[in-house]
Symmetry: C3
Subunit: 260 residues, 3 copies
């Protein structure tokens, strides 16, 4: 199976991706989901999410602007997904930035069987125990990015994706290194959240594997490279990114992909 | 009165449109309101909304990311609007997707005199009792779109607008069929919410009628057609849509409008 | 120190700016913070914000879509900032539009030592007691803009920035009048919120002064003028604004700035 085959299947299946996510980047997540070939639904009310989660192809749980009410919703939605065999993608935004965020991330990982953890170097570093530095919700560094990714995958028996200049995707046994992307991706708020939405589409349509998660990340990074070609700055870049994601062909994907 | 006269009056009056809406597409709703000629105000705190609703020209109630707190606010705001003779536009996002959404939609329609219901084929189908299919918050189909629109208008004695490839606007007696629009409108999250904001502007400035609601929907769909001419995908399309809505002239509106 | 020196220092220091803000324009605030040279973090959960606020360079408190829960968070965050000597920027969105907003604005100004108040003519007019007119969250007019700015600065012993066609920045002793900007800034939702984010960056990196606040406002207004040159309407304008803010050079700033 080629990398681009995962993309083809997403577009054929139009997976419904349920998000409980932050209010900062939620609109971009919705539009990215559509442009990647999925169908987004956002809902965080406890009374609503059982019905929504169980008809979804994947659930994306993002703690960017967590609060007490939505943390409970994250837990409920994760459990419903688990009971129904629906893949759960967890984006532990800002883990390491506050005691509360650490506590919530731990709780989610303890009470929900998470299938994919997607984070930046700081977040994955902190959760793996290898160490990482977080400043607000932005990653500063991790001592050893590949090592931390693998350690966290082993710790929770899941696929872990660490995104940054180089991306690592690992299930603890096998690790894929990805090299696409562009600096402008770091100049737009929420590119990390958006890639989690793309991962939701890919595991929703293809099942969970190192390869399906890696294909999702490559898709987004390649779209970013194409978007940057005609961007004048972060504003035009974000607009172009939706277009290039929407228009990305399998041929272009296979041609541009940098995978190790 | 020509269709474009409604647009002219919106721009003269700059109606203040109070929204209680979802956090996914709220920014687009605010900007669309401005570009259509209105002035948006978003507020959902029970202590705040009485003062805000009663000075508004129209109230738009959207249950996209409903929660227990904001459902109460929706009810309060609707009642304040009723007491003050202010038009109420209801967008029952995702009706049919969960038991909770059905329950809330029913409650709103029971406790508030809604003047306009704006939905997609699935939502209107479900609420009318004619039947419809909803997947997440996106419509899949309705058995008979025109019939469902008319039935719902009769059921609640209001104007109903069903938007899709073809749009139907009915008060139960008279039904207008509209044929403008572009496929890219379905590739942007929240175009349904945005058209509700435009409806809010039009009924706020012109009063509630099949004609004022139909003029609002035509305005948005024509702007969409113009936006698509120079779009490269959903990203540029959404940006262009705000521009084309803002720049739309009465002449262009009358020239491009497809109404039956 | 030239006006552009403040900009240079922001970009060198990348100040972390904690926002408790509304869900309408929050994404734009995040992206504007990045484009201005800062790093944004948005969080409003009481359990989270103590850790977040105290590592921040500045705190921006915006009551655009206030609710009972987030008003408490605004107070907590402001107090934490005060205890740690971190500048507090307050944007009293819609003060004058409802009794609740007036009450909250008064409470914030009573319980938190606010360093900068940034508002439009209506809001500053209302808070100063000089009088102003507010319709929804948009300003209509103030009897005497400069006078109201100075009166409010004296009342709370802080820097006050009133933005509009002409901007006034005053500490009650010295008042700077700024004349950059473009009409399209009034056609985009949230330009007022965005300028507060830029102020957060500037006082976070440079400390609080009439000059640092005025430099922030000039930066945003000049970026707006440049953005308007190639805009076709509010949609392209907002996209361009992020680009022009990101690309603005010190030379261009000094060349274009209109200050009295």
């Amino acid at each position: 199976m080629k990398g681009s085959d995962f993309m083809k299947i997403v577009r054929e299946k139009t997976p419904l991706v349920h998000h409980i996510t932050n209010y900062v980047t939620v609109n971009d997540c919705a539009n990215v989901t559509i442009c990647a070939g999925g169908s987004p639904v956002m809902s965080d009310e406890a009374k609503d999410i059982v019905d929504i989660s169980r008809i979804s192809s994947a659930v994306v749980l993002n703690m960017g602007t967590l609060n007490e009410r939505t943390v409970e919703s994250i837990i409920i939605s994760g459990k419903v997904a688990n009971e129904n065999g629906i893949p759960v993608v967890f984006d532990p935004v800002g883990a390491g930035a506050s005691a509360y965020r650490n506590e919530v991330a731990d709780r989610v990982l303890r009470e929900v069987k998470v299938d994919v953890i997607k984070g930046n170097a700081g977040e994955i570093g902190v959760l793996s125990g290898i160490g990482g530095e977080v400043r607000g919700v932005d990653s500063v560094s991790s001592n050893n990015e590949k090592l931390a990714t693998e350690a966290l995958a082993k710790k929770y028996n899941c696929v872990v994706a660490m995104t940054g200049k180089t991306d690592y995707v690992s299930d603890g046994e096998r690790t894929i290194t990805l090299k696409n992307g562009h600096d402008l991706m770091g100049c737009v708020s929420g590119t990390g959240c958006m890639v989690s939405s793309v991962v939701g589409c890919y595991v929703g349509a293809n099942g969970v594997s190192v390869d399906s998660v890696a294909a999702a990340i490559s898709t987004f990074s390649i779209a970013g490279e194409i978007a940057a070609e005609t961007a004048n700055g972060p504003g035009t870049f974000k607009v172009n990114l939706l277009d290039s994601l929407f228009n990305l062909t399998c041929e272009k994907f296979d041609e541009m992909r940098k995978v190790e």
